[in-house]
């Protein structure tokens, strides 16, 4: 049955730092690379080298411009994938029981052999975290790399989701958000981690760390053109030595 578990033993998820993300899309590429050849059906592309290419992705990076009332606009890169919600609306709408939330770690998964590709779970998700694969006709979504995180064939350092492992700016963190003492929970508490669309009542497990305030350039004191002006003043008023001699000679010519 596609009921949600009342409680999960752990709440595995991601913490995404909007302050340090540089928008390089490496997480998008590594996600597609790992997930197209491991758990479930491949992530197909349609017309990949043509004029109208499109494909299935489990993680996409948006970019937003935020304009404060005063001061310069800020550009925020915004990776978005399944948030593994505690109150996942995608699970309860599923007519076949293909969508489920795991009791042991809270990961939301799709049993692809039960999926009829009706698309209702994607309708129910406010975040756009689910996409029907056009070639396979089944729903694809982030698995939190369930085939990596417990995989004892991989070195321990690699037992994290592919996006986390690859992020070059350290903007992605993985851990148990149900444990208040875990590194990720501490990070969320310290940096004021937030939910996306909290009013939708989905209780996302994944948290986003807001960008820190931007540094501001100091304003120039009144009467000065630039704060660097004192440094630009000439060191010597009258040229001396060789340059002084050259200056005098050229004046005479």
């Amino acid at each position: 049955m596609t009921g949600l578990p009342e409680k999960t033993m752990r709440k595995m998820g991601l913490v995404i730092d909007l302050d340090t993300c540089v928008g390089c899309h490496a997480c998008v590429v590594s996600c597609k690379g790992w997930n197209t050849e491991n758990y479930g059906a491949p992530l197909s592309d349609q017309d990949p080298y043509g004029a109208d290419s499109s494909g299935t992705f489990l993680n996409r990076v948006h970019s937003y411009e935020v304009q404060p009332e005063a001061g310069a606009a800020q550009l925020v890169h915004f990776p978005k994938s399944c948030l593994h919600c505690e109150d996942a609306p995608c699970v309860t709408v599923c007519p076949t029981g293909a969508s489920y939330k795991r009791v042991e770690d809270g990961i939301v998964l799709v049993n692809e052999s039960d999926c009829i590709g009706c698309g209702l779970c994607a309708w129910a998700c406010p975040y756009g975290a689910r996409e029907i694969d056009a070639a396979e006709g089944v729903m694809k979504k982030c698995t939190l790399c369930v085939d990596r995180i417990y995989n004892e064939n991989l070195p321990e350092v690699d037992r994290v989701p592919a996006c986390v492992r690859t992020c070059p700016s350290g903007a992605r963190h993985f851990g148990d958000l149900g444990d208040p003492d875990s590194d990720v929970s501490q990070l969320v508490a310290e940096r004021g981690g937030m939910d996306l669309m909290p009013e939708q009542g989905t209780k996302p497990v994944n948290k986003y760390l807001p960008p820190r305030p931007k540094d501001r350039t100091q304003h120039a004191p009144a009467g000065e053109i630039d704060i660097l002006a004192p440094l630009l003043a000439p060191v010597a008023e009258e040229p001396r030595g060789f340059v002084g001699w050259l200056d005098k000679m050229l004046e005479k010519v």
């Binding site: 109208d52 076949t96 590709g117 996409e131």
Partner: protein
Amino acid sequence: MHPAPSVIVFTTLSGLGFGLLFWLGLGMPASEGWVAAVFFAIAFGLSVGGLLASTFHLGRPERALKAFSQWRTSWLSREAVCSVAALLVMGLYAALVVLAGVRVDWLGWIGAALSAGTVFTTSMIYAQMKTVPRWNTALTPALFLAVSLGGGALLAGQVGIAPWLLTLAAAVQLAWWVRGDRALAQSGTDMASATGLGHIGAVRAFESPHSGNNYLLREFVHVVGRKHGVKLRAIAMSLGYMVPVLVLVLPFSHLMALLAVIAHLAGMAASRWLFFAEAEHVVGLYYGKR
């Protein structure tokens, strides 16, 4: 939302078919023999045809039987169960009426309840979607039921009650449109809550994740054709409700009744097209398309 033809055909035809089954189950009209056979054939043709059309939008239609299993949580599953139950009960009722000339009243009442229940479960698939504020209202099941029972009464030749039900449906339709046009703004979901960046300043989508198209944009960010929204609403209102009501209050003729049914179907198709095309899914916010 993408107005998939299969889903528009399904909700329009099956809604009308189950509406007709509702009245036939109540014995209105309590016809017999060949007349009853034709009524039941039209009702089953519309409802079964609609259900079959709905399977065309599935990615894996061969696994459709699995959709009967999750009735405890899923409105889509409840719809599947309810529709098959309605068809089986009404099938038995119809067979007894047509073949044996026996009318089992209580069987018809159960069938009528299941038929109305099917329309209700269909409407709840949409009404439950918090992600589509325009649909997320009790007015959605009210609209589906009023349209289905009104159209069914029209098809069943219930000239007494049909004009009243169709007028009621038109009123609900108007209320649904008026509320729907403000629904997204009133839902509390906007760029600020979607990105969580509203505390810094005004948020604008700067760059999309991809320069190309994707499933989410195709399915949820349909914008083409909205510019004709007002014209289509006028078509839906006049053909779907006003023409049939007008025909019903005029002296009865079979040709005019057929005209009324065709006008009603065309109007409902326009209304259902708008139901999807005008629905704003909140995921569009992430793409700056709202």
